[in-house]
């Protein structure tokens, strides 16, 4: 594989990867086919636990390990009813990297650190980033609201530099990165790596239904919508009849239970069945920029080659 000579950052050194690119831990999509392809191609592939049991996630890890011996990560969604058992299993399996979302992973930190695991929580605020640094996180993923799926309030443009100013550990920027311009911008804003989601949904190795990939490939900028603001759990998707219905129900004051019922299973319907009416096609705002289905290797090489050309030899992460 081509090694990027000027893209060595603390993130590549920390994780033992060639390119400072982590693939997002997207529920149902971030499974072993995609994750192993990203890792083999020089990034960090990540398996998403989502709401899966420890046994199920362990099978994914085993399948990934049959395909690659490169570093990989497991994303643990802390609101999952199985979070504790997945956390324990991941420690026993000595996965190289754990990323976390939807909460505070403090209580698992000593378990994971004593298993020699690199821990990288996703954070949506400066205070949370500082707290994660204090309790031993190796890096943080600062995710702006341009991202697909569950989002916070701040944009990447504003969140990454504020967090980078306040912590010493490496910051990995997420939300809105679709090509080398996004990677270069993140590095200038203070990140030393990026997490990319939407662009990997349309990777050749991604098992997302062809309809899901086409939704992203055909999306325009204005097709990005957010559902769930009224419940305090905003989710970004490409709009379709499902999101339209959801938003109308929110506006007319539907109850939390009614909205939950509508949302239940909608992501799985999109990923596995390509259900254009009732599926929820989660994706970031950058979907409108993405027009090609490509192998992971090409995606990574393009991201880094384009960013290198823009940076013209400068290394903002070394300031």
């Amino acid at each position: 594989m081509t090694e990027s000579k000027i893209m060595k950052t603390r993130v590549t050194e920390l994780l033992g990867i060639s390119y400072p690119v982590i693939q997002g831990g997207m529920a149902h999509i971030a499974e072993y086919h995609l994750a192993s392809a990203v890792s083999e191609a020089g990034g960090l592939g990540v398996i998403a636990s989502a709401n899966g049991s420890a046994e199920r996630v362990k099978k994914e890890i085993e399948a990934l390990r049959e395909r690659t011996d490169q570093p990989f990560g497991v994303n643990i969604m802390l609101l999952s009813p199985h979070a504790a058992e997945v956390a324990q299993m991941a420690a026993e399996e000595k996965v190289p990297v754990i990323t976390t979302g939807a909460g505070n992973p403090e209580k698992y930190m000593s378990l994971w650190k004593s298993a020699g695991i690199k821990v990288i929580p996703v954070v949506a605020s400066v205070a949370l980033a500082k707290r994660m640094e204090r309790c031993g996180a190796d890096a943080v993923i600062a995710e702006g609201c341009e991202a697909g799926g569950h989002i916070g309030e701040l944009t990447s443009m504003t969140l990454i530099p504020q967090i980078a100013d306040e912590v010493e550990i490496p910051v990995i920027g997420a939300g809105g990165v679709g090509d080398g311009r996004g990677l270069a911008a993140m590095l200038i804003l203070g990140a030393e790596g990026v997490q990319v989601g939407t662009r990997f949904v349309v990777a050749e190795e991604s098992i997302a239904h062809e309809n899901y990939k086409q939704k992203i490939l055909k999306a325009r900028d204005i097709d990005s919508v957010v559902t769930g603001r009224s419940c305090g759990h905003p989710i970004r998707s490409v709009r379709n009849p499902h999101t339209r219905k959801y938003i109308e129900m929110e506006k007319s004051g539907a109850s939390f239970e009614e909205l939950e019922y509508l949302a239940l299973g909608s992501l799985r319907r999109a990923v596995e069945e390509g259900d254009l009416e009732n599926g929820n096609f989660m994706a970031g705002q950058i979907a409108g920029l993405i027009h090609k289905e490509q192998p992971c290797r090409e995606i990574l090489e393009e991201l880094v080659t384009e960013a290198e050309a823009l940076l013209g030899g400068s290394k903002p992460w070394e300031r």
Partner: protein, 73 residues
């Protein structure tokens, strides 16, 4: 202690000090979300030079709980 903490909490949540009464729940009455609470806890840790471990976070439900916690520390 009450006045000082009322002002800190009010400032963090964008409220007036009068709204921050001891019996009020941070989440349910004062509408603090999880990021607000982390921000508040960070401020309290820096101001009072203490560390507030994870297991104590869940005990800070009302304004009075925060006052009692800080006074004990």
């Amino acid at each position: 202690m009450l006045n000082e903490l009322q002002e800190i909490i009010a400032e963090k949540l964008g409220l007036s000090a009068e709204e921050v009464q001891p019996e009020k729940s941070l989440k349910d009455d004062l509408k603090a979300d999880s990021l607000d609470l982390f921000d508040l806890v960070t401020e309290l840790e820096e101001k009072y030079e203490i560390e507030i471990p994870t297991e104590d976070l869940d005990t800070l439900v009302t304004v009075q709980d925060v006052i009692d916690y800080i006074e004990k520390r």
